[in-house]
Amino acid sequence: MQREDSQRMWNKILAIFIILILLSSSVSASIIDTIWGLITKPLKGVLKSWEHVLKNPKHLITHWGKHFAHEELEEKGEKSRTFAYVFLLGLFTRTVTKDISENINRYILINPDPLHEGVKSTVYSFIHLLIPFYVLALVSLGAYILFLSTSPKGRSRAKSMVSKLIIGMILVTISPHLLNFFFTLSENVTKNILTQGEEEVTDAVGTYTGVMWGSFWMTVGAIYGVNAMGKIVTEIVTRASGMAYDRYAYEWVFRYGRVRSVRLLKIISESLPKLKVEAEPGRTIPMLMLSITLFIGVYGILAFRYLMVMFFTLLFPFTIFFLCFDPTKKLGGTLLEQLLLWTFVQEFYAIILVAIGTGMIMLPEDLLGYGFGIWPLTISFFDLAACFTLMLGPIILFMLLRKLLPPL
């Protein structure tokens, strides 16, 4: 019923509009001509746009591609947009690689400081929170010993529990210092590993930054195409004589470019209109994903590790209490295990870095040549595998050592 109603309404509206069009005084030419033109003109236009296809069948694919690959390729300002994209991605890559090659040791070694004012006060407030629980536990145990336990076995067990609880109480009060000692230990071990394999670590970080740059240059290549790249190269070489263009041109520009920045801007503004954009930035999403994955894989994991260690540091008094009270022993074991594991992730990271460095140094030179991409814009499979090892290695070690403590 409803459909019919709407149908009728539509017919009416359409009819009114058609009558309006027909009666419209703005239509000065004869009506038939207009309608005829309305039908034929667009057809003619379409036919015209397909004319060269019909004449030269080779164009069929390009024409189809235009229609079907990406309809809005003819959007506004593609040159400036793509240039901004490439520029920002370059900036990002540059800062990330610089940061990581400078600070990786610091990032790996950082641990929460349990003696820091805020952390300490929080831990002590948790200890205050624990007091009623302790009282409750002791009272219940005392009641058990006094009234309920009949067998001497049970009584001795309860007594040992009391002594455990008291030891736990002492440990809880010094827990920040305990943790500080433990973290220092872990840091020293990690530091040792890192200084032992300094060369390897540098090499591993170099591999990582290399892949990051490789991804960036692949993006550039995908957008501007190999020919356009060649054009830029000749342009720059001819214009700025003495300016060597290589893989690290960006770095060069940042180091020395300040002096000639005006000149550089001129070069860019002159060569930009000549660039031929061959793909929209949306087509380079795989490379962008690679860059972001690498970024998250290192920074995200390190930051997450830090936060998790902080989490279990704050919980440490509870951990000791749970461990020393028999019914909640399992929970305390889990908490302690997690604390140890998340702290040891820094050792895992150092080990993985050294392992990657060693592997990359030991690798025969010719094997590094195999990769994907079109020369010279390639990323070696081994480099990529090294990067993914850097990302996943610590997690894998973490998972393998999950059953670290003996069952309690």
Partner: protein, 328 residues
């Protein structure tokens, strides 16, 4: 809020007008020109910019919907628990059902004692089963109070963790990681919103991929640790008598253990949420603002606040996985 969005619309219109006047007054450099034969079209550019501004405004407001409420009512939202009075109707029905189920359970145990256990050991075992069942019966009859106690303990712990916490730091972490754009009436381009802004102007396809970050951070923060927990706790409140029965009956102990464990884990998830807030706050305070802040200009990534907010959204779900299997 209503006022704010109206101002935003006005600003968008104003920006369009400004762009219009600029485009008519100033000759736009050649690099902004078109590469196609149709020639330069000012109106087209204006529409183009306006559409992107509208898109950014709309998708960012979808992406950060409710963020202000989250920041303002953080402790209330973390401490949100279903009230037992709303669920009492259902709970009474379940308790009745459980009492009805006790009759066959006890009858079954009686048969077990009569027929199957011939050895005195087996008989003692069956008797202990019966005791467990009866203790379970007591617990079932006080189960609403018990559940209330559990919720009170969890709430008390949460509030005592949250009370000394500098929640302003966490709010600021949200602010820095979400960032701001000129559309928020601020002269800056930072955080995820800035990224979204730039990406949309580069290409809309990149813009809707950057929308994902909002989805994980803000939508995730509401959905996973807060609202799914709310529903789950409600279900386990209602099922609490049943899980006590199942746990105290020897033959269904495994299922009962899972359910009871889930009850406790989901209830105490809010403590973990509060602890995560505390962790992030302490980390930011003790590390300083500039630690691990990578990037230059609009590509700056404040890693610690970002990962902290991400942790609030997804980490509770991972952390509760560590705590499984603690009941005997």
């Amino acid at each position: 809020m209503r006022m704010d969005s109206r101002i935003k619309i006005l600003i968008v219109i104003g920006l369009i007008l400004v762009a219009m006047s600029i485009s008519t007054a100033v000759r736009i450099p050649k690099i902004f020109g078109e590469s196609h034969e149709t020639g330069f079209n000012r109106m087209g550019i204006i529409i183009w910019i306006a559409k992107r501004l509208l898109y950014i405004w709309l998708s960012a407001s979808y992406g950060t919907e409710g963020l202000n409420e989250l920041k303002a009512n953080l402790s209330e939202i973390v401490m949100m628990n279903p009230s037992i009075t709303t669920l009492s109707n259902l709970m009474v029905i379940v308790i009745k059902l459980v009492f009805a189920l006790y009759i066959p359970a006890i009858a079954f145990l009686g048969f077990y004692i009569l027929f199957l256990s011939s050895s005195p050991e087996g008989r003692a075992e069956a008797k202990s089963m019966l005791t467990k069942l009866i203790v379970g019966l007591i617990f079932v009859s006080v189960s609403p109070q018990l559940m209330n106690l559990l919720l009170t303990v969890s709430e008390g712990l949460t509030s005592s963790i949250l009370a000394p916490t500098a929640k302003g730091v966490f709010t600021k972490a949200w602010d820095t990681s979400i960032g701001a754009t000129p559309l928020d009436l601020r002269l800056e381009l930072s955080g995820l919103k800035g990224l979204h802004f730039i990406a949309t102007f580069i290409e809309i396809e990149l813009g809707f991929y950057t929308f994902l970050f909002f989805m994980i951070l803000v939508w995730g923060a509401f959905i996973f640790p807060i609202l799914i927990r709310f529903f789950a706790v409600s279900v386990f409140i209602v099922l609490f008598p049943l899980s006590i029965l199942l746990y105290s009956f020897e033959f269904t102990k495994a299922l009962g253990r899972t359910m009871l464990e889930q009850t406790i884990i989901w209830t105490f998830l809010q403590v973990i949420n509060a602890l995560i807030v505390l962790t992030v706050v302490q980390s930011i305070i003790s590390l300083g603002e500039d630690f691990m802040k990578v990037g230059l200009g609009p590509t700056t990534m404040p890693v610690i606040p970002l990962v902290g907010c991400l942790m609030f959204a997804v980490a509770p779900l991972f952390i509760i996985r560590f705590f499984r299997g603690f009941l005997p």
